[in-house]
């Protein structure tokens, strides 16, 4: 027999699960594009969690109409999420722009590879021996 499960708990579990998946992806992906996608998933989870914090299943949308409605949903989390979604799009575009720039500079979006070559560049600029032991840096300024 399936125990009775409130829909709200399922939604909460979904939101928290999305955040966990996103954070796991942020930490574990080696591909920078996947990092950006993980950021988007985390954002979706956080937004869902915020909306759910003010949600009531027996209430109506916070819009005044002619009909006499019951209780209304808390409007403050909705207003916050409304702006957060659009800002999230802007931040994702910025992150994608940075990824494109890195790809043009290094020809790779693998985190480890990019980090190694950036270390080389920094060392070459500072006149230090290259950490990776190569002869010359990847990018000449």
């Amino acid at each position: 027999m399936i125990p009775e499960l409130h829909v709200g708990w399922v939604l909460f579990a979904g939101a928290i699960g999305l955040i966990a998946i996103g954070v796991g992806g942020l930490l574990m992906s080696r591909d920078l594009f996947r990092v950006v996608l993980a950021l988007a998933i985390t954002e979706a989870g956080a937004n869902l969690l915020l909306v759910l914090s003010g949600y009531r299943f027996d209430a109506i949308a916070p819009i005044v109409t002619n009909e006499v409605g019951g209780v209304m949903v808390d409007p403050v989390p909705q207003a916050m999420v409304l702006t957060a979604i659009v800002i999230g799009v802007g931040v994702q575009a910025l992150a994608l722009g940075l990824v494109l720039r890195i790809y043009r500079a290094y020809g790779s979006i693998d985190v480890a590879e990019v980090r190694r070559r950036m270390d080389d560049d920094i060392a070459a600029e500072a006149g230090l021996p290259l950490p990776s032991g190569r002869e010359k840096p990847a990018v000449h300024s």
């Binding site: 966990a20 954070v23 916070p62 005044v64 808390d74 409007p75 722009g97 494109l100």
Partner: protein, 228 residues
Amino acid sequence: MRKAAALLFTLGLLFLLSVMFLRFELGQAPMRIGKDILAAAPEQVGAANIVTSVVLGYRGLDTLGEIAILFTAATATGLILSGLGGGQRRDPEGGFILRHGADLVFPFLMLVGMYIVVHGHLTPGGGFQGGVVLAAAFFLPLLARPSRAVSHSALGWIEGLAGASFIVIGLWALTLDQAFMTPWLHQGVLGELFSAGTLPLLYLALGLKVGAELASLLAHLAEVEASE
């Protein structure tokens, strides 16, 4: 080792969030301000959509900060991608159906976007949502005809004027001995199109600004992709 640490951190975060939200009573918002706003907003602000009252009335200053963040992100993306778009090589033109379909859908998308923006104080919608639809309307012809150049200066003017009018409407409240960003025009009848004071004007400015910003962001990304 690194993956194990990441997995451990993720599981810890999952546990922390679950414990926090299991203590949380469902449907009982931890904030009390929502109830007060629900009770006071229809008389104080006069907008049928109470979310709009919060976004532009009670938290207008925060919304100004949020469009500043969006502006910063759009400017930074333009700066980062400015040297990359060569512009010589473009994607091939779309086929007949795609091109004419885009032409056909464009006015309807504009109409829907403007409707959502203008009715933001009455129905679910508003400047942010409508602005995104407007940006999609401008991006669709760009996808169908990649050779057509986007006028970034025109988008910049729309964005700048919309942002400036948002701030001027907010500042004008100071001349009426009100706080910055207080809605000030006549409130009108609740639920009519011309009601809720300056909120529809603010949402119009916000919608144009968000639409222009997102359109220029998408155009920047598309230009770089095409010159690959």
